[in-house]
């Protein structure tokens, strides 16, 4: 019998499954579709903005008291969040996709001819430096706005706006997803030195209208990597950092990044500032693009590979159509199949189906807001006329997007009286109430921290 059945294959569900499986639990993940990890920027946004303040959060540990008391972060506290992120960083190292605080000095693995990244030397990552605990940094958005981010993969490190090296933003001809001039102009308005360049891809590709994902797959090929590296190196002036749309390979990403880094740094070798006693200062970085997101797909793939290594099955295409509970215990859930419902039985269940975007919550025309698997009680605005504000970009966000499941400190969904609805059910991620992860820029932070906490709750209950 399964110890834990996770419903939902986003960052929350997969990281919770990883956490539980590492602790020796027998875990499975089922999900209706691939998670929203595919859509986002592939960074770990922990807390970028709080209500009533225009400026970005500089250090989230200090901003937590400004969040409402029922906010998932307030349920966890700084230490629990930090522990979860530490565990996540260890996972990323194990998966050879290291995530660190931008600004951390790190060295890249030596380039390897092997296509298989997992055989490569694992990146050497600094452990969390306590002085820097909680400090956000700002990376560059596709339009050149600063994105408040806590952890980023190696490929996005050099986009750190705390760094004052000049930028060259490189676009690709025939790609409607990236406009270097717009990005550079906005960076200039904010006082950064940024210029633009455009790569002509005709030596690599025959067609125009190529998406970052197609390009990333093209760049998994060895010869394409070599040609592309040469083109990028030609663009870069000594001392510059090179920003490219996020498409630097999928499976063979690390190798391409290392090659690019070497080639760009080589050109600037004469100036000594580019090497450091502890490693290389990164000079090539990716800027996220519109969905689907190549960095998001890499993170998703890394999680799935690690889960497969732990014997955890991730089954997509499983829409829950019913469940059975006796008293306060869920006995099984059923998913839709072609012929008859398929029954899934487990000791514990973790609901990580996401909010309105992920499909965990459905809001209908009559103003009813429903949790889609267990029909759990929700905290939500009472009428449709209270869902939205007149301005799309209103800093306070739209109340409907804070709708969600209220939980206790153990991440057990609660009923109206404040008691857990089921003894063997946990909930984590964007399905939680009292937070709007997209407005706050806290999507991944909430996913990791609550997913980790819920998984540990399950582990302790065993």
């Amino acid at each position: 019998m399964l110890d834990l059945l996770v419903i939902g294959a986003g960052l929350t569900g997969l990281f919770a499954a990883y956490t539980a499986a590492r602790a020796g639990l027998h875990v499975r993940v089922i999900a209706h579709g691939a998670g929203a990890t595919h859509w986002h920027a592939g960074t770990i946004d922990l807390l970028g903005y709080v209500e009533n303040r225009d400026e970005a959060v500089a250090n989230w540990t200090q901003a937590l008291p400004e969040l409402p008391p029922a906010h998932p972060y307030r349920l966890l506290g700084v230490d629990a969040i930090a522990t979860a992120l530490d565990a996540f960083q260890q996972f990323t190292v194990a998966a050879a996709l290291p995530y660190v605080r931008p600004g951390t000095i790190m060295s890249l693995p030596a380039p390897s001819a092997s296509e298989d990244e997992s055989s490569q030397t694992r990146g050497q990552v600094e452990q969390i430096d306590n002085d820097n605990l909680g400090r956000n940094c700002q990376l560059i958005s596709p339009v050149g706005a600063p994105r408040p981010v806590y952890l980023a993969p190696t490929a996005q490190q050099a986009g750190n706006l705390e760094d004052d090296r000049p930028l060259v933003i490189v676009g690709l001809e025939g790609m409607p997803e990236f406009y270097p001039a717009l990005s550079a102009e906005n960076l200039q308005k904010q006082g950064f030195y940024a210029r633009t360049a455009t790569l002509n891809l005709s030596p690599l590709l025959r067609r125009r209208d190529i998406s970052p994902l197609q390009m990333a797959r093209t760049l998994d090929k060895l010869d394409a990597q070599a040609q592309f590296t040469e083109m990028v190196a030609d663009m870069a002036a000594p001392g510059e950092r090179v920003g490219l749309p996020a498409l630097l390979g999928m499976d063979a990403h690390t190798r391409l990044l290392t090659q690019l880094q070497e080639a760009v740094v080589d050109r600037g070798r004469d100036s000594a500032q580019h090497s450091d006693r502890r490693g290389t200062v990164l000079s090539v970085f990716e800027i996220p693009t519109l969905p689907p997101s190549v960095p998001g797909l890499r993170l998703d793939a890394a999680l799935r590979i690690q889960l497969a290594g732990l014997g955890v099955r991730v089954e997509i295409g499983m829409e829950v159509c019913g469940f059975h509970a006796t008293g306060r215990r869920i006995q099984w859930i059923e998913t839709e199949t072609g012929s008859r419902p398929l029954r899934h039985t487990a000791r514990n269940y973790l609901l990580a189906t996401g909010g309105i975007l992920g499909g965990g919550i459905y809001a209908d025309r009559c103003g009813r807001v429903k949790e889609t698997v267990f029909d759990l009680p929700l905290t939500a605005p009472h009428a449709r006329s209270h869902w939205l504000r007149p301005l799309f970009l209103d800093k306070r966000g739209h109340p409907i997007f804070q709708a969600g499941v209220s939980v206790n400190h153990h991440f057990r969904p609660l009923d109206q009286s404040g008691a857990p609805v089921y003894d063997n059910l946990w909930a984590a991620g964007s399905i939680l109430a009292h937070t709007d992860p997209i407005r706050e820029r806290s999507r991944e932070g909430i996913a990791i921290a609550t997913g980790y906490a819920a998984a540990n709750g399950v582990i302790k209950s065993q």
Binding site: V143, Y179, P291, D364, S385
Partner: protein, 619 residues
Amino acid sequence: MKRMQTEILVIGGGATGTGVAWDAALRGFRTVLVEKRDLTHGTTGRYHGLLHSGARYVLKDPDSAVECISENRILRRTHTHCIEDTSGFFVVTPEDEDDYPDRFAAACRRLDVPCTEIPAASALRREPLLNPRISRVFELPDAAADSFLAAHATAQAARQAGATLLPYHELTRLHLSGGDGNRTLSGATILDTVSGEELHIDADLVINAAGAWSGHVAALADVEVKMILGKGVMLATNARLTNTVINRCKMPGDGDILVPIHTVTVIGTTDERVAEPEDLPIEQWEIDLMLTEGDKLVPGLSRTRILRAWAGVRPLYQETQLPGRPAQSENRAQSSKYPATKLPQDSRDATRALALLDHQQRDGLRGFITITGGKWTTFRLMAESAVDAACEQLGVSRPCRTADTPVPGVEQGHYWLGHRLNEVEDENLQSELVCECELVTRSMLEGAVQRNPTVTLDDLRRDVRLGMGPCQGGFCTYRAVGILHQLRAGNASSAAGEWNVAHMQSPAHHHRDSPTPEQQATASEPASVPTPQGDFRQRSAAVDPQAAVSQPNLLLRDFLQERWKGVAPILWGQQLRQERLDELIYLSILNADHLPVDDGESPLSSFYRSDSSISDLDR
């Protein structure tokens, strides 16, 4: 201050105004049109897209019905490519009165509106989603019309005939001279809303074709024109539910028309009297009523995904006896059903017939004509009546030619649903897709920017349907801003081309058929009619892509807000989820709410923020 001189000045750039400019220019008048925002920004760009057969009004408003069927036949010749020949059904549902259908059929016969009763079973075979409980079906020559394209085609025809069209030029003052009994209107002061410059236009005659804004324009001439403004709310579904226009066979009411237009079906409309033309709140009850009524035509319509809601204002007019003056009977189309002294309280009861107000006869003001009322379907006839009256005031006799003069683009034949895909698959137009929903490519966008004044992304929406599909600007807003910004940063040669959007939404538009600016200039300027070309060139430069996108961050925000105000009233279910994805893109990935903005507001920002009323919050 710049000055211009013209014979006829047209106020308003909707269907009527462009129609008047076209008609006047064809009759050889020097003509200038001013529109305070983009062409079709008013009611023309906010209606359901029905080319009426007139059948809807055969019993309630026979004058309007007669106008509609006659114009229906003409527009099929002059604006063929703007019309999809869908045909129309009038269906009797179980809720409709028993005696109406026979009276309806008799009235159609009487008014020469071609009406054929067909078996309900065969109608259901053609439109399987129709309510299976319909008992009778009449087929009539209704059709779907693209009012954006039609206005642009008319505008292009007007330009080719020598007219000058000035969008983003707002009327601020009408120049009156003379005392009682000899009052004359001699021109107007116009504000260029983009550059902020004033323009002084001397005109022999001013034609007020400002639609719902006609009362405001007339007030500038100290003339009272009391408009009855009937707000109509419409919804678009994310699929074409039928391929035929569907009407309920009953007295016209709320939510009883379905029009398949492009890839969507529009359900319309409500009719609520409002005080101001920009007073366009979309109330929840209106949405719910549309969906409930829609279910009676296509069961399950209320459960389909709704893309957007919008509201337009019908510029209805009913002449009333003005105090101290004898009642005028200048309006040849005035319905006898309503005594002239009694103003209908409900805008649903106001006539849809056109209203021509010759202010010389009516108010003793020379040089001023108001043309209002009417339907989109009758815009050409409205223009004809207005210019006929103008000829009379100016003491010349020049026959109207619009009924026999096709606008540019008709050679493409009727619009058909597959044209966009066909166009994109055509190798000549192959380039990056900017809007996957509406198949807008980079070359279409660049063409539109070069050929039209592009002050906001909303202008591009009207030109190429940018952001009108299921994601409502989710992916294309960012791309369009990026492309506009590139055009600005790029070569200046893209600026100041001839405006030529007549082919914009039709097969093979601007690449093959459009004449070069040189050819066009020669074709469009009859030597005898000196047009104020200098001013036109300057105008064109003032709205070139260089100037238009000086603030890309504002373009982005304004368009996001513009899309928001139409989706917010219908956000639930899957469309709410879609909107959350747009939030993920614009907040989380792009961080568009923390972009640097130089001076905070564009001249148009406030507009996009003003006319939304979607929420009880912050009211």
